[in-house]
């Protein structure tokens, strides 16, 4: 499906202005202008895009409306209908979530000698981890150090990170690269065996370790293979719907749903590690997302009902360049590296409107303004809007062959739809990418609820208000390993009382008492794209 006629005229505008734009850069924003741009257009800052959490430990805190709505929904589970005595599974450690964080936690708990059960919503490995392209951050070069990595991460997180968590992250990181290599992950290497490394935005040294543009896929399939080799029991298509507590308010396992049969069943576990990932599929503020199908914030919802405290749940990362056309690629991540290689952002008239090297939040805001209030976006036949990333500039400025050498994956994907990004621009719009906050943890991955652990994107504190590229893959392995080990050791001393879902009943009652009414139930488990919802919809955030 090459560009439809409706879009061709605008492409001609872009081609016509390309030559004059060659040696020009759009001026960088003054810091006061940037502040205003963010306040007016960035979804994190705009008052209308967030709502206060009406109850629980984080009462009053502002979070995206879609998340708030799920937090204030009653459970999808009818506690009275579950026979808790008839628990079908007993285990030392229950790991919920089969992405990189969950797989690592399971392997590490098993190695520590515990009996482990891993349960996941879709297949083992269906996760955001598999989708990670760029790489995994660790200070392994001589000119780098864990201390420099710490500084970059804290500045990136606007100093809202928990300093101890960042220390754990940067200190364990090189060991994680070693561990993954020893499991047989084929990192990009130089002839002398050293790693080929890159420097994503916000970092001060080259420290992102890559496997072409398939880093997550390669790591995830190796970890999943190792789970099978270690004969760890895995239940697929069995999402957790609520956590279980005992009379002493200790976490004691979870109620799962068999997605094939619709039946619920009970797992009693001495310790529970939740690794359920992010929330992209809530489509906060109507944005498309780069996330996988199962990224629906379930972990946050379940843990919050069980009394866990959240940290920075309102901070969401929108990546400025998600694909807006073709329809089949909507929301898919287009790497920042294209802009580093001189691709400019231009509107439907072929005019620049933001410097290509501004930070993610500023670029995203400028695009939203251009497509919304200024009405300078290109409208696609499916009703999506976007601006152009002028990719032909890459070969013109950096030399013929650069695009294919650096971005073979992107080239191949667009080529499938008869779009040639070497010679034609590509249409982009910001896409929801990452949940910066989550359930608060300590350096062992423990939450404030006894026996309940978190690791990965579901957790909060490691990245403060804003995560740097390549730090998330590292986060899931560092804290997956720590949580797995600690939960396995702790399971030896845990004595559980009677299993209970009283906290779910109490939560539902509290909602009623506060006259909080919703039509939804939570956790969401899967987004609903049936019927006309299968068609692209996007709500703009109009500027004030």
């Amino acid at each position: 499906m090459p560009y439809p006629v409706e879009m061709q005229d605008s492409i001609k505008n872009v081609a016509a202005t390309r030559q004059p734009r060659l040696n020009r850069e759009f001026p960088r924003l003054e810091s006061s202008d940037k502040k205003q741009l963010l306040e007016n257009y960035h979804p994190d800052y705009r008052p209308g895009s967030k709502k206060a959490i009406p109850l629980g430990p984080n009462k009053g805190e502002l979070v995206p409306i879609e998340l708030a709505d799920l937090i204030k929904s009653p459970s999808r589970l009818n506690p009275a209908a579950i026979e808790l005595e008839k628990n079908h599974y007993h285990t030392d450690v229950l790991v919920i979530g089969g992405g990189g964080g969950g797989a690592t936690a399971a392997l590490s708990a098993k190695k520590t000698g515990a009996q482990v059960l891993l349960v996941t919503k879709l297949r083992l490995g269906d996760s955001n981890t598999t989708m990670a392209e760029g790489g995994i951050g660790a200070a392994t070069l001589p000119e780098d150090s864990p201390a420099i990595h710490w500084i970059d991460t804290m500045v990136g997180g606007r100093f809202q990170n928990k300093a101890d968590l960042v220390e754990a992250l940067v200190t364990d990181a090189p060991f994680i690269v070693d561990w993954l290599t020893n499991l047989g992950v084929n990192f990009d290497r130089n002839a002398d065996g050293s790693y080929e490394t890159h420097m994503p935005g916000g970092h001060s040294r080259r420290r992102s370790h890559s496997v072409k543009d398939l880093t997550g896929l390669e790591i995830m399939r190796v970890l999943a293979d190792e789970i099978r080799n270690r004969e760890i029991e895995v239940l697929e298509f069995s999402p957790a719907v609520e956590l279980l507590l005992d009379e002493d308010q200790q976490c004691a396992g979870a109620v799962l749903l068999n997605l094939d049969t619709g039946q619920h069943f009970v797992v009693e576990a001495k310790t529970t590690i939740v690794c359920t990932g992010g929330m992209g599929r809530l489509h906060p503020n109507g944005f498309p997302t780069s996330n996988h199908y199962g990224a629906t914030a379930d972990g946050i919802i379940m843990a919050y009902r069980a009394g866990a405290k959240l940290l920075h749940p309102g901070y969401v990362q929108y990546h400025p360049t998600g694909a807006a056309w073709p329809e089949q690629m909507l929301g898919l991540l287009i790497s920042e590296a294209l802009r580093a290689q001189h691709a400019q952002l231009v509107n439907k008239h072929g005019q620049m409107f933001i410097n290509r090297l501004e930070t993610r939040d500023a670029v995203a805001s400028a695009i939203i303004q251009e497509c919304g209030e200024k009405n300078n976006g290109v409208v696609t036949p499916t009703g999506m809007v976007g601006v152009w990333l002028d990719t032909p500039l890459i070969d013109i400025i950096c030399g013929q062959g650069t695009f294919l050498r650096r971005f073979a994956g992107i080239y191949k994907r667009f080529k499938k739809y008869d779009i040639d990004p070497i010679n034609e621009p590509i249409l982009i719009y910001p896409t929801q990418h990452y949940q910066n906050g989550g359930v608060e943890i300590n350096t062992n991955g423990e939450t404030n609820v006894p026996n309940l652990y978190m690791a990965g994107e579901v957790s909060g504190g490691v990245h403060g208000h804003n995560r740097l590229g390549s730090n998330s893959l590292q986060d899931i392995f560092v804290f997956g390993r720590r949580a797995g080990r600690h939960a396995a050791e702790k399971s030896r001393q845990v004595n559980l009382g009677k299993l209970s879902l009283d906290h779910v009943k109490a939560y539902n009652t509290l909602l009623q008492e506060n006259q909080i009414e919703t039509e939804t139930v939570s956790p969401l488990i899967l987004p609903d794209y049936r019927f006309e919802k299968a068609l692209t919809k996007i709500q703009h955030i109009e500027g004030s």
């Binding site: 989708m131 420099i148 290599t181 065996g193 898919l332 036949p381 499916t382 994907r413």
Partner: protein
């Protein structure tokens, strides 16, 4: 801004006929038809292999394959998703399984049953040269296996169609892991960094940083940014 006029085309999902808008992927067409996907959907972005699909166009005998999230529907196509295939996966201890033909044949004896029919290559939605990497595996050219199979999303279609009942994607995964673990020279830089950390070299500095005001750290950051060099 939605277009008012949508052209509908018929598709046949496991024998049932639905009308769906032209231009949708097979995945969205299934959803438009009313399916709440549980199986057969993962990343929705062409990298996880959850959505392997077999289809046939009207009037043709040839079966075609694709990823449902990446393939656009056409009028009158017959669609079947293949969300699971019971492929053979050998169990092994990676630390002691060095890459040689003895080990590989022991784990996957069926490798030698390959008859070179090329069905696997023709069934790969990622357009990988599956048969060539299987030949390379038999010939002991393990680096070639790594190179040719790196983009594999393990959708299972090659295994489903192989008349010799190989699971090429699992064989490639074994060999890639063996190569990564046993044939690549370790990084001396990494080894040194691990020694430094174990010896506690950075503890004091990190402790100091944790007790430094944000303003000071911000300053250090600016200095670091100034010396970061040009590499991206």
């Amino acid at each position: 801004m939605q277009n008012d006029i949508i052209t509908l085309i018929p598709v046949i999902v496991m024998g049932k006929r639905y009308e769906v808008p032209h231009g949708l992927t097979i995945m969205k067409a299934l959803e438009y038809a009313g399916y709440q996907l549980t199986r057969g959907c993962g990343c929705r972005g062409g990298v996880c292999g959850a959505c392997a699909t077999i289809y046939r166009k009207k009037g043709q005998y040839r079966l075609q394959v694709g990823l449902a999230c990446q393939t656009v529907v056409e009028a009158d196509i017959y669609i079947l998703q293949l969300p699971f295939f019971p492929a053979n996966k050998a169990l092994y201890e990676i630390n002691t399984t060095i890459p040689d033909d003895l080990n590989i044949i022991k784990l996957y004896p069926e490798l030698l049953r390959c008859m070179g029919c090329n069905t696997c290559t023709n069934s790969c939605p990622m357009e990988l040269e599956v048969m060539n990497y299987i030949s390379a595996a038999i010939a002991g050219n393990y680096e070639t296996v790594v190179e040719l199979s790196m983009e594999c999303v393990a959708c299972g279609l090659c295994a489903a169609r192989c008349p010799a009942e190989l699971a090429p994607f699992n064989i490639a995964l074994l060999i890639r892991r063996m190569v990564g673990k046993h044939l690549i020279q370790p990084s001396p830089q990494l080894a040194q960094r691990l020694e430094e950390i174990k010896a506690g070299k950075y503890e004091k500095e990190l402790h100091g940083l944790k007790n430094t005001a944000p303003g000071e750290i911000e300053k250090k950051y600016k200095e670091l940014q100034a010396t970061k060099g040009a590499s991206v």
